[in-house]
């Protein structure tokens, strides 16, 4: 959807004292990504720290480059969810206590709520949306379905990202290993035994896939 269309439907958006920073992606993907940004007011009223100035930077997310200009205080999680419509990563605490926002940075699991978006520059961000290839589920996604490793599903994207890293880190050798290594991801529905079973199933499949 072109941003002009949004503005036409929402007159407030094109208010007289606000100017939008519109950024198109520079990736090879067909659809340009538009990003809502900090307001011109913010730029006009910069304070000494410059905290409200939009920061211009580029991020690589799920293999696609996004050129961005957002408030530098924006967390990677809020960037994904509120600016890029990648809402698979979830906000469960915003304090790094629950793991629902887990994404991979250069293959390592990180809490996107504790990561400033600008700090992810130059690193490959992988989110739950980037796992399935051409409609084929990642072995870990399939294993979560097979073992009913969720109920409400809210922690699930974070669990799956964490589980993939858990296997790649070599921390999935025993059930006790898996339980320990997956304990940064809370599941209030308490699907824990099924999560362990899913990781156990996916591990050899992931290894086979990586050899191919």
């Amino acid at each position: 959807m072109a941003d002009d269309d949004i503005a036409a439907k929402n007159p407030q958006r094109s208010g007289t004292n606000r100017r939008r920073f519109l950024m198109a992606s520079v990736s090879s993907a067909a659809a340009p990504a538009f990003v809502r940004a900090a307001t011109a007011d913010a730029a006009a009223q910069r304070n000494s720290s410059g905290a409200r100035l939009p920061a211009d930077f580029t991020l690589t997310i799920n293999g696609r480059d996004y050129q961005l200009a957002v408030d530098p205080r924006t967390s990677l999680l809020d960037l994904l969810r509120e600016h890029l419509a990648l809402t698979g990563s979830k906000k469960g605490c915003d304090h790094g206590q629950c793991g629902a926002c887990t994404v991979l940075l250069d293959g390592r699991r990180v809490l996107s709520c504790l990561t400033l978006a600008v700090a992810a520059q130059g690193r490959a961000v992988t989110t739950i949306e980037g796992l399935a290839k051409a409609g084929a589920l990642h072995p870990m996604q399939q294993a979560f379905i097979d073992h009913d490793a969720f109920q409400c599903g809210y922690c699930t994207p974070g669990q799956i990202m964490s589980a993939i890293a858990c296997v790649n880190e070599g921390h999935a050798e025993t059930d006790a290993d898996i339980r320990e290594s997956m304990s940064g991801n809370l599941c209030r529905c308490a699907a824990y035994p099924n999560i362990v079973a899913a990781v156990r199933q996916a591990k050899p499949v992931m290894k086979t896939a990586s050899r191919d």
């Binding site: 407030q12 915003d94 809210y154 994207p157």
Partner: protein, 760 residues
Amino acid sequence: MANAAAPTPKANMGPAAPRIDARLKVTGQAHYPSDTPVGNPAFAVLVTSAIARGRIERLDLDGARAVPGVLDILTHENTGDLNDVKFGHGSGTSIEDLGPEIQQAGQIIAVVVADTFEAATEAASGVKPAYSEQTPSATFGSQGVTQEDATKVSPQHKHLPQAGDAEAALAGAPVVIDVEYETPTQHHNPMELFTTTCAWTGDRLTVYEPSQFVYGLKNGVAHRLGIDPDKVRVVSSYVGGAFGSKGTMTPRTAMIALAARRLNRPVKLVATRAQGFTIATYRAETRHHIRLGAARDGKLVGYSHEGFEVSSRPDAYVVAGVEDSAQIYAFGAVATKVNIVHADRNTPGYMRSPPVVPYIYALESAMDEMAQKLGMDPIEFRRVNDTMTSPIGNRPYSSRSLMTCYDQAAAAFGWKDRNPQPGSTRDGDWLVGYGCATAVYPTHTGPAAARVRLKPNGEARVQIAAHEIGNGAYTVIGQMAAERLGIDLASVTVEIGDSRLPPAPVAGGSNTTASSCSAVLKTCDLIRARLFHAAVTANDGPLAGRSADDLTLRDVQIAANDGTGESFADVFKRMGVAIIEEYAEFVPNGLKPQAIADLYAGKLAMVGGSHGEKVMYAMGAELVEVRVHALTREIRVPRIVGAFAAGRLMNTRTVHSQLMGGMIWGISSALHEATEIDPRYARYVNDNLADYMIPVNADVDQVQVILVSEVDHDVNPAGVKGLGELANVGTAAAIANAIHHATGIRIRKLPIRLEKLLQA
């Protein structure tokens, strides 16, 4: 290797079909309300009260307004056009939101709206209230609390169970115990935060909010805004955990709707985890005084149970779980009483198995103490007092399989190896204990309506405003339609969680499957009847002249017993229709037809449980092994076995997950969870997920679920007893009992942490 998550169905159990929403959930494509894209939203951040009792004298907003990007700040001074909320009428609280009167810590006092989340967050920190403060009353024992008899003030609990002369029975009983128990404050803490997104199109409002009752929320918000409920739509396609916290309207929804109206722009709120402790409900702390009397052979002769529950200053919220505890054994004489203790707190509310979690914990602990005193095995003690008749009014159980559950669980667990002597079993530095307790949950059924559309190719669409909170609602509703229409589950599209659909009850009281599937069943049967009629009254066709009673739907065909069939396509063609669509309203026995109209208006009545001519309960038996370290008193639960009977089970996979998760909730109640309250300020201390203890993966070892076959034709047409709130009942008692067995120490106050054992 067998897949423990997908148990093989036994009699009266449906298949372990994978969830039809599973793919969406593992790919991040299931849209929870705050994931729903809306055009150009403004972002709201709440400001909450630092005091628990007093008054806002002044709100300095200058600092907040100076933050670039701030659009609006709602306070008590500019929101007078919101109608008051009233507890018990769809709202979970009557505490006047935004002040100026402050009746609880963490009460919302301002809503800051800005162009970005970052700006709104910064500005919220610039709202500076000045209070006049009074000393608050925090909890039991605090100065200034008031106490009242629940039967005098709670319309749902005017009469509590009584039978015979309990005082006389206890006075004459050869063996008596007289004990007190305590349970702590708990917060639901679903992983999904409390979010609200509101968007207006002209005078029509759409609310995207995780809700366990979209019709209740729709009508409640309309009341607060003073608009026609038909102009409000609530969308809640997926709920990221709820456990009761999203069943009643909270004050935030109308505030966000108002903010969106004032700005003529969508407004989005994602409340913080800490705010979730005070802007919604919680499980209140309780105290119990129990006396049991028994003959030397173990037969109970008397049961007295007095409960105490904390509530807020204005509201008489009470769970009164004696309603249920008094039904479950052959007690002889029964006396019950419940007291509400009002403190300066937010109003408590439903949290997974509200009445039975605290009250059955107390009863099942007392049962263990009595068995100990009698020198009886605790399972045999329950067998002696098992009954098919409630002691309250001698009413029969519609079905009851408690001892079958115990027997199957005991066999799987190896209970016979238990040395009855406490402190007798040791494995190295670990003291080993076995404990058991009964799980019980009242069966509720409510009114519901559904619309079902069938196409000649066997594709169907089911519409019902039920709620997917992890219960598997999409899946079991789809299964019921597939079964009745003779089509594959994959051919069924299920639409739920939207107040534009026909209404279903709150996803509470474990009624979703029973109520929704009964409505879907009834609606599908209207379609069946139309198809059968067309097939048998045809002038030609393979089924012409047959009796409709001999027909069924199978494999996208109308099929007769002898194998003759006619395809949907042919029958539709003869009927001259492209689709068949039916709408039906299901009202359970015991409710007036008006119940559906009330449900449309957001008012819900349910039947079952301890009320009615037959008492209706799902039941289970939970057996646990605990290990207590002899030196450090660290407590572990290496295994837990639960066997459960709950009428028809629609899907053994979703059922297994709910029961397994429920038992882990029970472990959490026993050993982990408690909201700590600062008695000086009536504030919650550990209002975050690092300090509010819930189990992590490493806390959970072997959890075995045994599904017990049971048939019950009385509960509802679907034959389903709800079980989403069954397995977390009794668990805490089983663990406390096992800890006693391991150590000889009886802890009567939850949660049981190692410091309590070290102090004992």
